[in-house]
């Protein structure tokens, strides 16, 4: 059992929680994730480790279905039955020169820990964080504190530059090409945004989020195709060379359980008439 020591809402449908899990926190590195299972009837879901403080790890998640909703309902003092991690290959941290970190929506959660590691390794770090509107933007202050420069975009122009993060990224590539780029967010955003750096031949990483079960390489649920080869994202990734990733396959596989997810949501929110009470 792992105790939640703090929980709060960061934006509409986006929540943050700190969990006491020393076996995860003590060895976690930038870019890694954990897998948790809330209770006996729960499923296993992967979430990025978005911060570490002593024995505590932080998760930041968007409520999109049954498990994230259950998670959002947990408060300080509540427990989570299972947490395993840190999982996946850490971010390839080294001295690149100038790095641009682009985050979209809840994908921003992954950035501060990577930014910090890259800073410590001697890089200049430029952050670009984007959201649909001002109210959905998360971690602005934290990113401000770990980046040398921070650019903000909103789709509707309610804050920062109006438009997608791809805009400022393209401009940077044209005017002062960086040495490495990370793009983390929804699959479609990663596909489009990482496409920007391709003509410039800039090394670009994305963090893939296929459906996972164990997170340890024993099921193959997380398989993705990178450079024409099938890889298991949980052990070979989650970060891969953006320009080699088959994003269409990723997006297709993310829809594996669309019907079941609807059924589960209905079951838990009372769509079945039981009020989620069985």
């Amino acid at each position: 059992m792992y105790t939640i020591t703090a929980a709060s809402a960061l934006a509409e449908n986006v929540y943050e929680a700190w969990i006491s899990a020393p076996h995860v926190s003590r060895h976690a590195e930038a870019g890694q994730f954990l897998v948790l299972r809330i209770d006996e009837t729960g499923e296993r879901i992967p979430l990025t480790i978005s911060g570490v403080d002593g024995d505590l790890v932080r998760i930041i998640f968007m409520t999109v279905g049954t498990t994230t909703r259950k998670l959002a309902a947990l408060k300080k003092g509540d427990t989570i039955l299972d947490v395993v991690g840190p999982l996946g290959q850490p971010t390839e941290v080294k001295r690149y020169g100038t790095c641009v970190l682009v985050g979209g929506g809840v994908g921003i959660a992954c950035l501060p820990i990577i930014a910090k590691a890259l800073k410590t390794a001697g890089n200049t770090v430029i952050g670009i964080i984007g959201a649909r509107n001002k109210d959905l933007l998360i971690l602005e202050d934290e990113m401000q504190s770990v980046c040398d420069e921070l650019i903000i975009t909103t789709d509707d122009g309610s804050y920062g530059i109006k438009g997608f993060a791809a805009g400022p990224l393209k401009e940077i590539c044209e005017t002062r090409p960086p040495d490495a780029v990370w793009v983390i967010g929804p699959a479609i955003m990663m596909k489009v945004t990482s496409g920007v750096t391709k003509p410039f031949g800039i090394r670009t990483f994305v963090s893939l989020n296929p459906i996972m079960v164990d997170g340890t390489g024993m099921c193959g649920s997380c398989r993705v195709v990178v450079g024409g080869e099938t890889r298991f994202a949980c052990v070979d990734g989650p970060e891969f060379d953006a320009h080699e990733v088959n994003f269409d396959l990723l997006m297709s596989r993310q829809r594996f359980y669309t019907d079941e997810e609807k059924e589960s949501a209905a079951h838990h929110t009372g769509g079945c008439g039981c009020g989620g009470h069985h």
């Binding site: 076996h23 009837t41 359980y257 079951h267």
Partner: protein
């Protein structure tokens, strides 16, 4: 054996074979010839004194009988149920030449179940010692090694990546063959010996290699969990599973009870399972129990299937269609599976395994409609931890290189079970674990 009728059991996950009552066990024991040179014992990989325990059954002394088994086998309730007896103990039994061999597996299971109901005796523990031993993995190999070492007084910790211990016994072999209650009982017994089991610990990550190496001895029992895929076109589509994933979702995470349990699985209307081993049989029978029409595709002949005889027999009884001498060539669909193209196979000259090798017959391709495809074509050791430990040598299929005592190429590190042999059997994993535990004991006490 007393199997529940096939038409009943395909609707639930309760055990297929409900075991035999005491009178039947005694009657069966009375058939044993008590051979002077018992061939059955040669067939048992851990050399259980089979006539010895059978004589005790005949005398009605079940307590002594189970004691004899446990001298060589820590998990009799498991082995009695899942050992491929027909090629081991029972395959060698002299009575099998003319008549039916003694049902050794059933007798072993009977005793283990009897003991669980009548109280398990905890063996005496040796005096506590100061050495700490890490066992990685809690499958049959890890549990056996840990129990053996704990009995010898060592302080033993098992690290398990999953949230529940048991390895394949928990996530792979389904309830209807091996009730989880039985597995739990065996695990509690190991805990009662003082073994600590830390779940949610992926060694190499949650426990870094430097910390692992700080133990006085290490036993790697990480199994062969890495699933192989065929590498044919279309296999990354929605609806294609490795057997590992499919079985884990159901056995470990109870996807059969979705949406009451949150883990989903595609139940499928027409399921095609690829393979002919125990894993394929289990996947097929699980799919059947969730309501699908199931076809099993195997590239060699029926008699070449590596599955336990009784499992293949049970699968057929349950209405699973076997298509032998047939191999998939591609999986059809536009993102979601709609069918499997297969080709008929011609049996040719024998290969290294003594089975005929199979060659596709050109032009014999045809399509089987399917909405779920499960590949059960083999597993190899998960390289995650092995790659992190400097000096470990792996053989061709990724199996760890060990000597006859289970010693790896790195000092203090031993390995047992599927990680060293490749996917094998429960009893072989346990036998190897016992050998490795004995070697560790010698290493630490003779220093």
């Amino acid at each position: 054996m007393s199997d529940r009728p096939a038409d009943l059991r395909v609707h639930d996950f309760e055990e297929v074979d409900s075991g035999i009552p005491a009178e039947e066990a005694i009657a069966e024991a009375a058939r044993c010839l008590q051979c002077k040179k018992p061939a059955c014992v040669d067939g048992c990989p851990v050399g259980i004194d089979i006539p010895g325990f059978i004589r005790c059954i005949e005398d009605g002394d079940f307590r002594s009988a189970i004691g004899i088994i446990k001298e060589s086998n820590m998990l009799p309730a498991v082995c009695g149920r899942v050992c491929p007896q027909e090629v081991q103990c029972e395959g060698e039994c002299i009575l099998g030449v003319k008549d039916k061999p003694i049902a050794i597996g059933s007798l072993e299971r009977f005793l283990a179940d009897w003991e669980r109901e009548n109280g398990i005796e905890i063996p005496e523990l040796a005096e506590k010692r100061s050495e700490r031993i890490a066992v990685v993995g809690s499958g049959p190999a890890g549990l056996t090694a840990a129990a053996e070492l704990a009995r010898n007084g060592f302080s033993v910790t098992i690290f398990e990546a999953f949230h529940e211990p048991g390895g394949v016994l928990t996530y792979g072999i389904p309830e209807f063959r091996l009730p989880k209650e039985v597995v739990q009982a065996e695990i509690s017994e190991v805990k009662r010996l003082g073994v600590e089991i830390r779940t949610n610990y992926l060694v190499g990550r949650s426990l870094p290699v430097e910390e692992l190496l700080s133990y006085d001895a290490i036993i790697l029992a990480t199994g062969a969990g890495l699933p192989a895929f065929m590498g044919i076109p279309g296999e990354n589509q929605i609806g294609v599973y490795s057997a590992n994933e499919f079985l884990t979702r159901v056995n470990l995470l109870h996807a059969d009870a979705f949406p009451h349990h949150d883990t989903p699985v595609k139940k499928g209307r027409s399921v095609v399972v690829i393979g002919g081993g125990n894993v394929a049989m289990d996947a097929a029978r699980v799919a059947k129990r969730m309501g699908a029409d199931v076809t099993l595709v195997y590239r060699r002949r029926r008699e070449d299937m590596p599955a336990r005889l009784v499992e293949a027999h049970h699968a057929e009884e349950e209405g699973i269609r076997f298509l032998c001498c047939t191999n998939p060539t591609r999986i059809l669909g536009e993102g979601t599976v709609t069918g499997v193209e297969v080709v008929s196979m011609d049996m040719c000259e024998l290969d290294d395994s003594g089975r005929p090798s199979a060659k596709p017959i050109p032009g014999s391709e045809y399509i089987i409609p399917a909405d779920v495809v499960i590949e059960a074509i083999g597993q190899s050791p998960n390289p995650l931890l092995i790659r992190m430990i400097e000096g470990l040598v792996r053989e061709k299929k990724g199996n760890l290189l060990v000597d006859e005592s289970g010693k790896t190429t790195v000092p203090k590190i031993y390995a047992a079970g599927d990680v060293a042999t490749g996917a094998a059997t429960v009893i072989l994993a346990m036998g190897a674990a016992k050998t490795a535990a004995d070697a560790v004991c010698r290493m630490l006490t003779e220093e």
